[in-house]
């Protein structure tokens, strides 16, 4: 117990002494944990409006439909099946064309009773429920048509007045409505060169009429489909009910559970979630790079402290524990903060649909989410810290007390190559060659960032085309753009932190070598350019690798995970890729210029 207290006390004292570094560490891990939390809780948060709608509309647990009157008996059997407590319907449904505001849309029209139903009673948001001569439109559909109560619409050429606008939990809001007519429906994008089969409904909306109006609108009884809503004793057993009652003869009755409707209603959140989870892993990699550099630089400064700990009787295990404990404490704080921020921010990245009641609330954190986010934060800290901590623990006490710097690496071929270059590049190559692991981290950090930007470019172009192709509405595109913006800002921020931290670590590590070079005749400008170029050269390599294979692989991974069709995506043009590489190099040059400038102008005599 005493040892644990000692370790924590030493770790806390040291953290307090190095507030800037702790802040940078915190930002690095926080970026990853926040994004991961967002990814994990987003769908749950996005489900809130559906759950509210379900509660407000006596939402069904199972929705069954048949395509012809001859199958009505099957629905009758379902109504009396074991586990069913209530039902409404069967209601007749027809496919129709709705004209409003100069636009024509496909629509599924359900014939309902004016009386309140026991299951699935759509909640009227404006106006009133169905009455003869009056049509009620699903709210998201009405919103997209820009139609309100009192407006006139035409169904298959027959004029109706919009009596009300309502929401339902029996199907996802427009444009994701489930198909309950026998003609069949298509949602999402349809390539320009492909014609839909005649009669197939394209992104149908939903409307309700009285049964009398519906039957008079239908061209004949053969045009009618039927839908029935079931309430179960145990809603969580909806899928089991469907499996049990699918039908044991020729044509099974199509059924949807409330969970399927929820999944469809939060389909956009699924796409956002995939983006965020991928972003979280990229940010996790960047955080490892940040931490490795920070920890490495810090260990160099802590050599003497390690020596002192050992000199007063600290075992290598205790020394490693103290060093690890500091970063684990930071990781735990970052995990807690990431979980909180992620849960609070999740509603901001969800779709606000007119077709559902209320908005997303603060996401609930499950133990599995808390566990995973904490594990990732601790994993990042351990991966980045373990090697330097063990190295520090194993170092000789005498050399540690003498504060001997870790000897630089010798990379013979780079040293030989550098002799043929101008002075700044000669020095730059040698600076990079002194710490190949740090240079590799710089390359990896930029490669990960550029891969992310590559994918963002592809997705941005893809989203730009969506309102035209029909896969997403403009509102949905706006939500996904929000997600991409969050991704971009966090990714670029962390990359900027990395570039600055790596340069600063390089500047500190090269204090002596830079001073010596100046004593031998290198100008401050040459040393400054060398320190900056030592970052820019790996950045150039990282940017090129980030485009290919990085970006291509990441995009392929996204397609593989989402089952996306890469042929539908427009890959960045060569000029865009060249611009991306050049911009990366320029940004890195700008970010490194200040620390490099300070490093190039340190007083020589104070260092030597």
């Amino acid at each position: 117990m005493g040892r644990i207290v000692l370790v924590i006390r030493l770790a806390l004292r040291d953290l307090r002494r190095r507030r800037t570094e702790v802040a940078l560490l915190l930002i690095a891990i926080l970026a990853a944990t926040t994004t991961l939390t967002l990814g994990l809780v987003l769908r749950d948060a996005a489900g809130d409006p559906y759950r509210s709608t379900r509660a407000a509309t006596k939402g069904p647990d199972v929705i069954a439909n048949v395509g012809r009157a001859g199958d009505l008996a099957e629905l009758g059997k379902l109504a009396t099946a074991s586990g069913v407590t209530e039902h409404s319907g069967p209601y007749p449904v027809i496919a129709a064309k709705l004209e409003a505001s100069g636009r024509t849309s496909d629509v599924q029209v359900i014939g309902r009773d004016a009386a309140v139903a026991a299951v699935d009673q759509p909640a009227v948001r404006q106006g009133s429920w169905v009455s003869d001569g009056g049509v009620v439109l699903e709210a998201a559909f009405a919103d997209s048509l820009d139609v309100g109560v009192g407006d006139a619409v035409a169904l298959d050429g027959r004029s109706y007045k919009v009596a009300g606008v309502a929401v339902t939990a029996a199907m996802p809001p427009y444009p994701g409505a489930s198909c309950i007519v026998s003609a069949g429906c298509v949602n999402g994008a349809v390539p320009d060169d492909r014609n839909l089969p005649a009669g197939l409904l394209y992104r149908p909306g939903l409307a309700w009429l009285t049964q009398t109006d519906l039957l008079s609108l239908a061209p004949g009884r053969s045009a009618l489909s039927y839908v029935m809503n079931l309430k179960l004793a145990d809603p969580d057993q909806a899928q089991a009910f469907v499996d049990r009652n699918r039908g044991d003869h020729g044509r099974p009755v199509p059924m949807q559970t409330w969970e399927t409707v929820l999944a469809d209603a939060t389909d956009l959140a699924r796409d956002s979630q995939i983006l965020l989870l991928l972003g979280a892993w990229l940010l996790g990699l960047l955080a490892v790079a940040s931490l490795s550099v920070l920890v490495g630089g810090r260990m160099a400064d802590q050599t003497r402290r390690v020596g002192l700990l050992k000199a007063v009787g600290g075992t290598p295990g205790l020394v490693a524990a103290v060093l690890l404990a500091e970063y684990l404490l930071v990781a735990v704080v970052a995990a807690a903060a990431g979980l909180t921020i992620g849960a609070l921010a999740a509603p901001l990245l969800t779709e606000s649909s007119a077709g559902l009641v209320g908005g997303a609330g603060t996401a609930a954190l499950t133990w599995s989410t808390i566990g995973l986010v904490t594990a990732v934060a601790l994993g990042v800290a351990v991966v980045a810290t373990a090697v330097p901590a063990v190295r520090g623990a194993r170092s000789s006490t005498v050399s540690a007390l003498a504060d001997a710097a870790r000897p630089p690496r010798r990379t013979g071929w780079l040293i030989a190559l550098s002799t043929r270059l101008p002075v700044p590049l000669l020095l730059a190559l040698r600076v990079a060659a002194r710490r190949p692991r740090r240079a590799a981290l710089g390359v990896a950090s930029i490669a990960v960032t550029v891969s992310g930007i590559y994918v963002l470019l592809v997705l941005n172009t893809f989203l730009g085309d969506q309102p035209d192709t029909g896969a997403y509405t403009e509102a949905q595109v706006a939500v996904l753009r929000h997600v991409l913006l969050v991704w971009t800002v966090i990714l670029l921020s962390l990359a900027a932190v990395n570039a600055t931290v790596i340069t600063w670590a390089t500047v500190l590590d090269n204090r002596h070598a830079s001073a010596l070079a100046r004593a031998l005749g290198a100008t401050p400008r040459e040393v400054t350019v060398a320190l900056a170029a030592a970052q820019v050269l790996p950045a150039l390599l990282g940017a090129v690798l980030g485009v290919f294979p990085g970006g291509f692989l990441l995009f392929a991974a996204i397609n593989a995970i989402t089952g996306g069709d890469s042929d539908r995506a427009t890959l960045p043009a060569p000029w865009q890729l060249v611009a991306l590489v050049l911009s990366t190099v320029l940004v890195v040059a700008a970010l490194t210029s200040v620390p490099a400038h300070l490093g190039g102008r340190r007083p020589v005599t104070a260092t030597l």
């Binding site: 000897p407 630089p408 690496r409 010798r410 990379t411 040293i415 002799t419 043929r420 002075v423 000669l426 040698r430 060659a433 002194r434 002596h512 070598a513 010596l516 070079a517 100046r518 004593a519 031998l520 005749g521 290198a522 100008t523 401050p524 400008r525 040459e526 102008r601 007083p603 020589v604 005599t605 030597l608």
Partner: protein, 248 residues
């Protein structure tokens, strides 16, 4: 403190270097006048903290004076830009440090050629000159060794070779034997004697009476100022040279 017999290659007038302010003001160098002639070896001695190393830094343009002038080869260097000072250090002044200051990742020959490469010499010429210098200093067999594989005396000889690689007007040595054992000290003393005899202008800051004995002049410093000057007749062939054990 001046030597008027020859044209000075390095001179200082009223040189001052101050640190701090008010009551915390410290005059590390306090009104030093100095002339060093071409080919002359000047030893500066004094207790620790008297300002010897600071003076050496001012003379070579590594640090800027608070007041006074420094001239090299008749040209003021205390008021030129950092870039100008850097260029000057490439070819006109070079340093030998107490702790050698060799690049740990470079071999002996790579350390020596670095100064020539920074001065813009071709890689081939720089390597040839470095190998020749190491050969002259008895380190031909150690040219491909890293500093960590060399003894203290060998490291200091590498540092001297580096200082000579651009044939500077003046070599400024700061406690060149301060980190060496007795055997290595004698080794380095012999090296400085040889340099002196070859006509190299040397300013050596030292605690070691034996190395001071190799000089033409010995200046004693206290509290940032020269307090005594002694001309050592005949340099290494004089009485002090004999005391140092350098006489044949």
């Amino acid at each position: 403190m001046s030597n008027t017999a020859h044209t000075p290659v390095l001179s200082a007038r009223g040189l001052r270097k101050e640190h701090g302010k008010g009551e915390g003001l410290v005059r590390a160098v306090d009104g030093v006048d100095l002339d060093v002639s071409a080919g002359e070896t000047v030893a500066i001695m004094g207790p620790s903290g008297c300002g010897k190393s600071t003076l050496l830094h001012l003379l070579g343009g590594l640090d800027r004076p608070s007041a006074g002038e420094v001239s090299l080869n008749g040209r003021r260097i205390d008021n030129i830009s950092e870039k100008g000072l850097a260029r000057m250090r490439r070819t006109e002044v070079s340093y030998v440090f107490q702790s050698f200051h060799l690049m740990e990742e470079l071999t002996a020959v790579e350390n020596v050629e670095l100064a020539a490469l920074l001065a813009g010499r071709s890689p081939r010429a720089a390597r040839r000159r470095a190998e020749s210098l190491l050969d002259q200093l008895g380190l031909a067999g150690r040219a491909r060794f890293l500093p960590s594989a060399l003894s203290g005396g060998q490291r200091q000889r590498v540092a001297v070779a580096r200082a000579l690689s651009n044939e500077p007007l003046v070599v400024l040595a700061d406690e060149p034997t301060g980190n060496l054992d007795s055997a290595a000290t004698v080794d380095v003393l012999q090296l400085f004697k040889d340099l002196h005899e070859s006509g190299q202008t040397l300013v050596i800051v030292t605690h070691d009476a034996r190395i001071a004995a190799t000089a033409d002049r010995k200046l004693s410093m206290r509290d940032g100022a020269f307090v005594d000057e002694a001309r050592l007749t005949g340099g290494t062939t004089g009485r002090l040279g004999a005391l140092a054990g350098l006489e044949d």
